[in-house]
Amino acid sequence: MRLFQSFVAFLGGLCTVAALHAQSATPPLVGVACNLLVSEDERHEGLNTLHAGKYAAAERAFQNAFDACPSQHSILLDLSRAELQAKTLSEAIRSAQRFLELEPNSIDGRIVLANAFFMAQRPQDALRESEAVLRQEPALAVALKLKGNVQYLTGDLDGALATFVTLLDKHPEDEEGPYMLGRIYYQEKRIDHATGQFQRVLKLNPKSYKAYDNLGLCYQSLGDTELATRYFLTAIKLVDKDHPEYDWAYANLASLLLDAGDAEKAFGFASKAATRNPNSARNFYIGGKALSKLGKHELSANWLERSASLDSKYPEPLYLLSRVYSQLGQKEKAKEALERFEVVKKDAPRERR
């Protein structure tokens, strides 16, 4: 699930995509007790607090809005979205399911549910729901994206490829089509094709920092270190102030600098990545690797331990930890790290070529 977790963060959460699609209100049913005035007030409050990032308050407000007028079914979708933002994923799923019990043919409801399953790392359920939507509306962009992302994350790259080709075909103006095609080609090590797709993204959105970042990865793979560095730096410039949550470009540049033999500069960028996202195991791994190359083994061990603790299924830090502990003469810890590595490595996906 490491890939899943990191990718959810990478995408910035698909729930916002679903939210864009579903904003409809349900008219109150005759005969059901409904205080529409109170409900509308609470709903308005919920939307405001949600927008302000006060997710718990938003949850309460939407719940009050629904209690005040249960015939306003669509409030359940607002509630589900707030619960998603609050990371109360079981509740988000339950709210979406309650809505679908009342509105079984709602495409919006099914998308919210699919998204909740996706965020809750239940890819098969998310896939089922998104496919159900696509049976009704085969070209619906948000459903195609959900399906494609699930396929991508579960390793069904052929399936993901077909889905995003459809997205690109039906919605050529949507940058997520070429972006995800680029990601898939990159995973398949079809670097030239990936490069073409990311450049396509830039034509649609010249400020796509993710495209710049990925172009950096592509040119690094193609052996053009200078161009790769330029792309990473462009991505960093774009995210520096406007996207404080985006850490990947810093980590990717750090990794490139490590390969180029400059551990000191690499550590600088890895530190920035870790500051931006202290929950990324990869950021701490790259930092720990840089420190190891700088001969700062004790510090390196701290960073690598942090990396391993952030993601128990990430083999890389454990392998390096065993080497670092060996360097420090801590044989028992080295042995233990190697044993942990072996366990994790068995379940890790095999390397592509």
Partner: protein
């Protein structure tokens, strides 16, 4: 600071010589030339490609450089594929009857030409050939041949009269399945060469599947993970012309892999040979010799199983030699494009992944390396790296236009542990794109500058003559065992030349990819005209010490009796 300066400052890491410096240095770099036309060698390794993309088609074949007739000149043996039907009918075997598919033995005439003596020698082979190992398994003074196949392998006994006899059944070394690289090594130091064979995978024509996109032209050769791993074979030499299969008892046969390359050396300097197996996309293996006929797989423990991130790579050709002259044998393993060739530096029995630091990673990331060896091609006292290249997929450019099926050779000069790409400065022949596979290294013309012979898939083999000419001196040491195996395989040699430069060599024919190299141990001596000290630790345990040896000669050293030191 402007943007370009900033980018460059980020990348401003210490490098080797500048381009201008390299160009200037090129004036003194030995040049390789294509000596194939003059050699009269017309061999072509025919993989018999089909639309079925049978994986065996893209994997052969090996080359051996050895002196089969004892005239002091290195002869050549090439392994060939066999005719395949498209598709292969059930139970039909690959067909080698057509002479185009024969393995070939070429006699070195000593004047730059070779004569095809295959038919007379009786070494055409059978089945679909892969690799070759050489060694004098019966200590009769004549080097024998072991040919690996998809199917039963072959042991050819050298009769000493220019002919060979297939003694596979009598010797009991036929094996089965898909064998790849093999080596002769006296692992128990009883004076008789044993035989170790890597096997690639459990594959058969009936098991073949479609891999790659189902679009015209895109069908590809399968990733090894599509099939089960195979176990390696170990045959113990009984000293009477027969061998005993001890694969399981030795421990080596109990640890499967996708074995493609093999080499051996004494990684912990305990006096016992350890076995390295390069595996494709699973951890590399190092079998530590426990001195009782058994081995323990220790690659993970000593840092040799994975790259520095704990990731596997597509291990193919390999070499096990001391590139940094510290006396501890290092390991280099070829890999596929989008990976990096792996260089592991031996630090007193623990390995450190140094592909990045040595420059090898940066240089090799877009290449695919098969036959390779650490050779001191310019005789400066530092072992350089030669790699024959080419992607495994003949249609790789469809999915990855930046990658090519046919690739030029790669020659990296060793500058005190850092490698610099001098391919473009070392002869136009190196720049010709080819589907290179097996490579044998050694001195074809006995001029002290190592030559290279490359087998290319579905294209003519290439003989690369090293023109030398830089004035550096050299020494070739030809060991003759008495208590030890007659080849002296497994002997460790330490050389200290006039200037104090210390080098270490190891007698082996193994390494590269599916191939066998000149057994003689080569030392480049730079400007030193004398070797102050030459020490040999024979497999028998006997130590021998020679002093004041003149450079630029082939020194044959006979193992002394046990009492003499």
């Amino acid at each position: 600071m402007n943007r370009r300066a900033f980018v460059l400052s980020l990348l401003a890491v210490p490098r080797g010589a500048s381009a201008a410096h390299a160009q200037a240095a090129a004036l003194r770099l030995p040049q390789f030339r294509d000596a194939t036309p003059q050699s009269r060698i017309g061999f072509q390794c025919n993989g018999s490609p089909t639309s079925q993309k049978y994986l065996i088609e893209t994997m052969p074949g090996g080359v051996a450089m050895f002196d089969y007739d004892g005239d002091g000149r290195m002869d050549l043996y090439f392994v060939n594929g066999a005719k395949l039907d498209d598709p292969m009918p059930p139970r039909k075997e690959p067909d080698k009857t057509d002479p185009r598919f024969w393995n070939r033995l070429y006699h070195n005439n000593g004047d730059g030409t070779f004569t095809d003596v295959t038919a007379k020698a009786g070494v055409q082979g059978r089945g679909y050939g892969m690799g070759v190992a050489v060694g004098d398994y019966d200590n009769d003074g004549h080097t024998d041949l072991y040919v690996t196949n998809f199917g039963r392998n072959i042991l050819y006994h050298n009769n000493g009269d220019g002919t060979f006899t297939d003694v596979t059944d009598k010797a009991g070394v036929g094996g089965s399945g898909w064998s790849s690289s093999a080596c002769f090594v006296d692992y128990d130091r009883d004076g008789w060469l044993d035989l170790i064979v890597t096997r690639y995978m459990q594959w058969d024509f009936e098991k073949n599947i479609w891999c790659g996109p189902r679009e015209p032209g895109y069908r590809g050769y399968c990733h090894p993970a599509s099939f089960k791993q195979a176990t390696h074979l170990v045959f113990h030499n009984n000293g009477d012309g027969t061998f005993t299969d001890v694969s399981d008892a030795s421990g080596i046969g109990t640890v499967p892999g996708y074995g493609l390359g093999i080499a051996f050396n004494d990684y912990d300097r305990d006096g016992w040979p350890d076995i390295l197996i390069a595996n494709d996309n699973v951890p590399e293996q190092l079998f530590h010799n426990l001195r009782n006929g058994k081995f323990e797989e220790v690659a993970l423990r000593v840092g040799l199983a994975y790259d520095e991130d704990g990731r596997t790579f597509s291990g193919m050709g390999t070499d096990f030699d001391d590139y940094d002259n510290d006396g501890w044998p290092d390991v280099v393993v070829g890999a596929l494009a989008n990976e990096k060739y792996a260089l592991f530096r031996n630090r007193k029995g623990e390995f450190e992944y140094v592909s990045g630091r040595s420059g090898l990673g940066r240089i090799s990331s877009m290449h695919s390396g098969w036959g390779l060896k650490l050779i001191d091609y310019d005789n400066d006292g530092w072992k350089d790296l030669f790699v024959a290249q080419g992607h495994v997929m003949d249609n790789i450019s469809l999915s990855s236009p930046s990658l090519k099926y046919l690739e030029p050779m790669l020659l990296l000069k060793n500058d005190a542990g850092v490698f610099e790409d001098v391919s473009a400065l070392s002869g136009d022949v190196l720049g010709v794109p080819r589907a290179s596979r097996g490579v044998a290294f050694g001195d074809l013309d006995n001029d002290g500058f190592p030559d290279v012979v490359v087998s290319c898939l579905n294209a003519p083999a290439v003989v690369l003559r090293n023109g030398g000419g830089n004035g550096n001196h050299w020494l070739l040491v030809n060991t003759v065992g008495t208590s030890s195996n007659r080849d002296g395989i497994g002997a460790r040699i330490r050389v200290v030349s006039e200037s104090g430069l210390e080098q270490f060599g190891f007698v082996t024919t193994a390494g590269s990819y599916q191939s066998a190299n000149d057994k003689r141990v080569h030392f480049g001596l730079g400007q030193d005209k004398k070797v102050k000290l030459l020490e040999i630790l024979w497999p028998s345990g006997i130590e021998q010490r020679l002093e004041g040896i003149t450079a630029d000669q082939i020194l044959t050293v006979k193992e002394p009796p046990r009492a003499v030191k």
